[in-house]
Amino acid sequence: MAPDQFDTLRLELRRGCLVLAVLAQLRTEHYGYTLKKDLADRGMEIDEGTLYPLLRRLETQGLLVSEWREEDKRNKRFYRLSPTGKTVLNELLNEWQNINTAVSRIAGSRSVA
């Protein structure tokens, strides 16, 4: 497979996973920079150009709430899951488990040449 093809498929695969990872990480309050660091520490790298617009979109969809607050003498925008976001996250995690189980079963039962 050409590298370009792999990158495209990898991006498609990661796109949905990123939303899930961000929502799951925001069960506890974070601001953008610490969220990015925590995600990276857990193996989910995300660049700024993707993270901040994503946070804004999830907030517009009502899945996150945010507030400006001062911390370490600096104003920061803190994000956390909204009540709707918590419900959606639980449903998405269930779906993720189902997909993960199904794909493991399928991939495990077939040899990859």
Binding site: Y31, G32, Y33, D47, E48, G49, T50, Y52, P53, L54, R56, R74, N75, K76, R77
Partner: protein, 361 residues
């Protein structure tokens, strides 16, 4: 101005207005946190290259700003495969019309100024076609995104080739010809309406099924034909410099509008609600009324469809009466085809009244 200020300056230009200040404020604070942490880690201020490296992670200002906006497009991926060929075909047709008209003008010794004036109209026609095709598709795309196809019921569609399907979808050659002459005065439209249908029943008689491509081409050509009556350059090409529509064509205009709308509506219904026979009964009635009105005008009017823009100018080699005869012939052909179609339909109705066995015999 440091590198990040420069980045923010460009980013601000592309961000949505209502969120601009808030987004810039957030990104600036995040950037400063990032820099402070890096500097604490290194024990020294960051140099220019290190700043540039951090800023690069935000991405190009245009791309970064685009991610804050909802995805917007006029014609989306669902309709684009139809939009592009329709646009190419219609623009190619317009260019052919202009080229042929220009050649005719040159061959008949029309003054160069008039030929040049006609050529000047060509790009305006192409631009108008591009605009109208795009608008038509944008409206269709919007209706699809608004959920126009969500209520689609597979059970409502009769299987291809079934008697019911053939009965509801059958379009006779006469009907094609009527629609064709109505829409583009003849052969061009007839060909385009007839060609895109992918499947034809084995039974002879030029019956074919409606298709999305046929409908879309029909929409575009109808728009072209109706607009051409308002903007003669779309029909005459370069000839619009010396030709204009006559009073009789303007009298016929409402009938043509009804004919176009009913043709397209019926095609759309055949495509989307093939079993809704009530609609076909209504469209048949409107077709009949339109045909009768057409016939009335053909009998009572003076057939002055086209006139010289300036009657006092001499136009060597061009006879306006011949052009009007051609138009009259096309209209008479359309009415005759419509009459044949009506007679055949009445005959079919009588046959079907005799019973299903007789009808299939």
């Amino acid at each position: 101005m440091d590198l990040f200020d420069r980045y923010v300056f460009w980013l601000r230009l592309f961000l949505p207005k209502d969120q601009r200040d808030d987004i810039i404020r957030e990104l600036s604070e995040e950037y400063r946190s990032h820099v402070a942490e890096k500097e604490a880690e290194l024990g020294r201020p960051l140099n220019r290259d290190e700043h540039a490296g951090l800023i690069a992670q935000f991405g190009h200002p245009l791309l970064m700003a685009a991610r804050y906006r909802p995805q917007q497009y006029l014609v989306g991926p669902v309709l684009f495969p139809f939009y592009w060929p329709v646009l190419k075909v219609t623009i190619a047709l317009a260019i052919v019309v202009h080229v042929v008209a220009g050649l005719v003008m040159i061959a008949t010794g029309t003054p160069f100024v008039d030929v040049a004036r006609g050529a000047d109209q060509a790009w305006k026609s192409v631009l108008a076609i591009f605009a109208w095709v795009t608008i038509a598709f944008a409206v269709l795309d919007h209706s699809i995104r608004s959920g126009a196809l969500k209520g689609w019921n597979p059970a409502a569609a009769a299987p291809p080739g079934s008697p019911q399907h053939v009965a509801n979808h059958a379009v006779t050659g006469a009907e094609h010809a009527t629609a064709a002459v109505n829409q583009a005065l003849g052969a061009v439209n007839f060909g385009l309406w007839a060609v895109p249908h992918p499947r034809r029943p084995a039974r002879p008689g030029r019956r074919c099924q409606p298709s999305i491509s046929g409908l879309l081409v029909g929409v575009v050509l109808s728009a072209w034909w109706l607009l051409a009556l308002k903007f003669p350059a779309l029909m005459f090409g370069g000839g619009a410099a010396i030709l204009d529509w006559g009073a009789d064509m303007h009298r016929l205009y409402p009938v043509l509008v009804v004919a176009q709308v009913i043709t397209l509506a019926e095609h759309a219904v055949r495509l989307m609600r093939p079993n809704d026979t009530r609609v076909f009964r209504i469209t048949r009635l409107v077709w009949f009324a339109t045909g009768a009105a057409f016939l009335y005008f053909l009998v009572t009017l003076d057939h002055q469809w086209v006139v010289w823009r300036n009657p006092l100018e001499a136009h060597a080699g061009l006879r306006i009466d011949l052009i009007n005869y051609a138009f009259s012939a096309a209209f008479i052909f359309a009415v005759a085809c419509g009459a044949i179609g009506t007679v055949r339909r009445i005959a079919r109705w009588f046959t079907s009244r005799r019973g299903p066995r007789a009808a299939h015999a």
